[in-house]
Amino acid sequence: MKYLKYIFIFIVLPIQIYLAIWYTPVVKGLGESTRVFYYHVPVAWLAVLSFLISAIYSAQFLRKRDFKADLKAEANARLGLLFSVLATVSGSLWAKITWGDLWNWDPRETSILILLIIYLAYFTLRSSVEDEDRKATLSAVYSLAAFATVPLLIFVIPRVYESLHPDPILNERGKVEMSSTIRWIFLFSMITFTWLFVYLKKYQEELMLLKNRKRNLILEKLKK
């Protein structure tokens, strides 16, 4: 199974880059910036996926009190933070070159910003608690409480903005009319990035596990 990694790096990834940057046809309203679509949306999707996974590990921690679960919750939250920063910034820049403004309070922009804020709040909470057990419990609870807000956001925000911003251009990006070619390239990009995520998740979790072990080893040595 180890050759999977190489398939990804040397076959899947180059194909994705070729498709997204050269092959793709261009969407009418977006021009050349159509290409950004194949990178921005998958990254935003990863931000949400990380949140979901982190929340699941949080729930697992609360149920079993297994510290590994808390570690993994934090690991995925770190990835989520990275992705949501990238998604928010790239979304803003994309908006600038297509709509002219760096920020529009478009429903999707708002959602990804809120996700970013949730991640930041999560880490602020973690850094204000010293005791490990309490840190894990409190951040797990917060993670779940914040997660519960997300479905509501998804349904609330588009409705609210429908009438606040009756701008016809606004949802064009969301409702991009995908010709089948574009749809295929988009799907392929999503798969590529999700595949990449699997590796990142594994590395991040392993890294944090080892850092934890290293810390424990040092603590043990100090005790002797």
Binding site: L30, S33, Y39, W94, I97, T98, L200, Y203, K214
Partner: protein, 44 residues
């Protein structure tokens, strides 16, 4: 800004920024993992 969305320089910069962020972080993880693996096996 005439047709900024058709400006390939802008478009590529955004894409490069995303990829740098994602892959850069991936490489960072890889390097840190290597470092720590050797440290932990030494401490044993």
């Amino acid at each position: 800004m005439e047709e900024a969305y058709n400006n390939l320089v802008y478009v590529t910069s955004i894409i490069i920024a995303i990829c740098l962020g994602v892959f850069g972080y991936g490489f960072y993880l890889f390097r840190e993992l290597r470092k720590i693996k050797s440290e932990v096996s030494r401490e044993g």
